[in-house]
């Protein structure tokens, strides 16, 4: 069959993010994808750290020095928060996969809990890590 010319009529497009009024569920859904992407890049940091540890004390001292610095600690703190946020967001999506928590109050509470819970967990993890050492 010969290829037909594409219609020149402007096709209606589905509006993108900026059109919609932001809601908690939408914000947390977008943020779930953003945090997932950040964690994706962050695994390179884990790989660099472990390969340095396997390479010996000199290589490890450079990497440990970086992660121990102010910028390094800030990166690790934000990384912890992003990890906790993505984890709680994932659990929320798992609950929804099972059809749990779809009524208005519950889905709003679950979305807010993702942000509050991830912040609380991050602070607890860092407080315990700093106190135990």
């Amino acid at each position: 069959m010969a290829p037909t010319a594409r219609p020149t009529v402007a096709q209606p497009m589905s509006p993108h993010l900026q059109i919609y009024r932001w809601t908690w569920t939408m914000a947390m859904s977008v943020f779930h994808r953003v945090t997932g992407t950040a964690l994706y890049g962050g695994t390179a940091l884990v790989a660099i750290w472990l390969v340095a540890l396997a390479s010996g004390p000199v290589a490890y001292s450079y990497v440990a020095g970086f992660f121990g610095s102010l910028i390094g600690r800030l990166i690790l703190f934000v990384y912890t928060w992003i990890l906790m946020h993505h984890m709680l967001g994932g659990l929320r999506h798992l609950a929804w996969d099972f059809g749990i928590g779809f009524d208005r109050e519950k889905r709003l509470a679950m979305s807010r809990l993702t942000l509050i819970g991830s912040t609380a967990l991050t602070i607890v993890i860092w407080a315990v890590a700093l106190l135990v050492r």
């Binding site: 472990l50 540890l53 440990a64 798992l94």
Partner: protein, 139 residues
């Protein structure tokens, strides 16, 4: 009539019984990725919480202590499991993001290929490092 019978009746649905058994749909990949993403999500929660505890215990310690922690068999096994689970999960996750936003076919193929290379690279580097530390052969 029961739901299952309606689905198998080809006068109601054009899907053949064979297509239903194969379960692959129009993309020929089925729900494998979707399911693996949920499975690894569950294993990630357990393994990454363990990972955080392991890292927190090593915070601020020197080279010898760090090697000692990672060389512990339980820690090594948890770390290796975590890397398999995480790299599988992130590989699928990024592929979904690429397929959602990259529409040019050539760019999409290159991006998905690069995604696979990155995931395998991270997995091999992390697992190799843990095994080397665990078997006591750091250079």
């Amino acid at each position: 009539m029961a739901k299952e019978q309606v689905r198998q009746d080809t006068s109601v649905s054009i899907r053949t019984p064979r297509a239903r058994v194969a379960g692959l749909g129009v993309a020929h990949h089925g729900v494998g990725h979707w399911w693996l993403q949920r499975i690894t999500a569950v294993t990630n929660t357990v393994l990454m919480l363990s990972f955080v505890v392991i890292i927190a215990r090593m915070a601020g310690k020197g080279y010898a202590d760090a090697v000692h922690v990672v060389a512990n068999p339980f820690v090594s096994i948890i770390l290796i499991l975590a890397f398999f689970s995480v790299t599988l999960h992130m590989r699928i996750g990024m592929q979904v993001v690429i397929e959602d936003y990259v529409h040019a076919q050539a760019t999409k193929i290159v991006a998905v290929f690069a995604n696979n290379v990155y995931a395998v690279l991270v997995a091999v580097a992390c697992v190799y490092a843990v095994l080397r530390i665990g078997f006591g052969q750091p250079a």
